[in-house]
Amino acid sequence: MENYLVAMGVSAGIFALMALGLNVIWGMAGLINLGLVGFFAVGAYVSALLTLKLHLPIAIGILAGTGLAALVGAIVALVTVRLKGDYLAIVTLGFAETVRIVASNEIWLTNGTDGLSGIARPFGADFSPVQFNLFYLCLVAAMVTVLFVFIDRLSHSPFARVLRAIREDEQVASVAGKHVLVFKIKAFAFGSAALGLAGALYGHYTSFIAPDIFVPLLTLYIKLALLVGGVGNTWGAVVGAIVVVTFLESTRFITPLIPGLSAVQGAALREFLISVSLIVILRFRSQGILPESPSHPVVPARTGAETQPAQI
């Protein structure tokens, strides 16, 4: 049971890293990214492949995964810079699907849909499974703390102020002499780095990754985490991640209570419950558990046309 809770804690930490990354892209810069899971997959695959095939140290793998996810994020931002709204939503979603298609089909590299197994665990040989779980929880928690403090500081910086200005009105920001493109790319790259880091940490924890893991549902979980916690609120990202993981795990216990369900039906019911609760949360509490105070330097935009005037 303790082991199960620790594993849940690790999941929550990985979700929190992703939610923090999304908070920079979406919460601060107001950029739409429905392809989170693509960057997560890039981080996971790069780190896993470098350690599996080239036998590089895990730390290097994680760094490379993070870095490459950032680079891919920068490229996606550069390519999509002229796109807005729905078009950006479609392209980012398409990007994540393309990553999954590549991972499923380049069998010589990624072992296709069977996935990569036996990914190295840090100190996996020295620790018992229980010790390893605890160690990993500490590692992930440390990463979350570092990223949290960094992003919290960042949200008070002139850099985040410019991002917010871009989110509110790109034209005004550019008239004020800010290079909008550069700021957008930086925000996207930074957020993607956090997503890649989460992916790399995930791979080295479960020791197994496969294209099936990187489905759009995972993107929804992170959106859900941020929405539950409160978009634009750094604390919200962490609280939301914990709430979402707890909820996801608790649905595991609901399906066995209904007699006569097959395994497929149980899984279907679980995904159904999860997506319906996202709809309900979106509908009735879109400001989250921790709504950002209006004086907070990162007030999220009302999406779309009804943008509120900037409060500086």
Binding site: P216, T219, A267, S286
Partner: protein
Amino acid sequence: MVTEVLQLIINGIMAGTILAVPAIGLTAIFAVLRFANFALASHATIGAFAGLVANVNFGLPIVPSLLFAFLVAAVVGVVTDEFVLKPFRAAGFITTAIGSIALTIALENVVRFIFGNELRGYDLPIRRDWRFEGIRIGPQQVENLVIAVAVMAAVFLFLMLTRIGKAMRAVADNPMLANIKGINAEMVARIVSFVGMGLAGLGGMLIGLDTTIDPLTGFRSMLSIFAAAVVGGLGSIPGAVVGALTVGIGEELSLLFLSPNYRSAVGFFTILLVLIFRPRGILGQRAL
């Protein structure tokens, strides 16, 4: 080589014509309601399975089954739009887009709950392919093509000639002016959901007729359908047809140098290429 390319182009035209049906549904919904409705994927799946029940369980021929697929997806589309997506629209397009992804996963799992994950096929008469100078054409494919063209013609006539069709075009063109002229925007929204999701369902079954179906049928085609609508310009019905043919032929021609598994990725790269050079698609936005 020439025969091979010609064969791929013919296959592409057939695939593209079928793709145009759900793409028209998507683009019509975008033109009137102004958001990218990702729930289209699950409605295509629902249509494919409704058609399967009509065809296999009730023993109906293909054309009535397609009609059934249209109706079931259309009704589900109106109901879910009314109770799930409509309240989101006030909150902006991105919330609506996320909501529609959640809806598509929820509905897909309803289908999975009922039918399971197994691949299923329609009851089709087995017919020999026609051959001309080394080019193969399946009779079923031709039938699908004729059906798709007939459906498109019907949609076009509906928009051009009927009062409701004209009202839809008016709302797409200028919602405020349409409102002043006394057009009931809510009613138009319901009708566009009915027609749009119905077309998605019909398209889902047409796509399934060529192969087999499972709960992910709609989702797998989603990138191609979105590519078709985006390439032609979201909101433009002629654009959706041009886009669908472009994507259909492009996906087939990619087989010359890519594995067939990369078909959806081709849709994605077509979107990227077109959007980089023409951010509003080939025929521009809102030319419904």
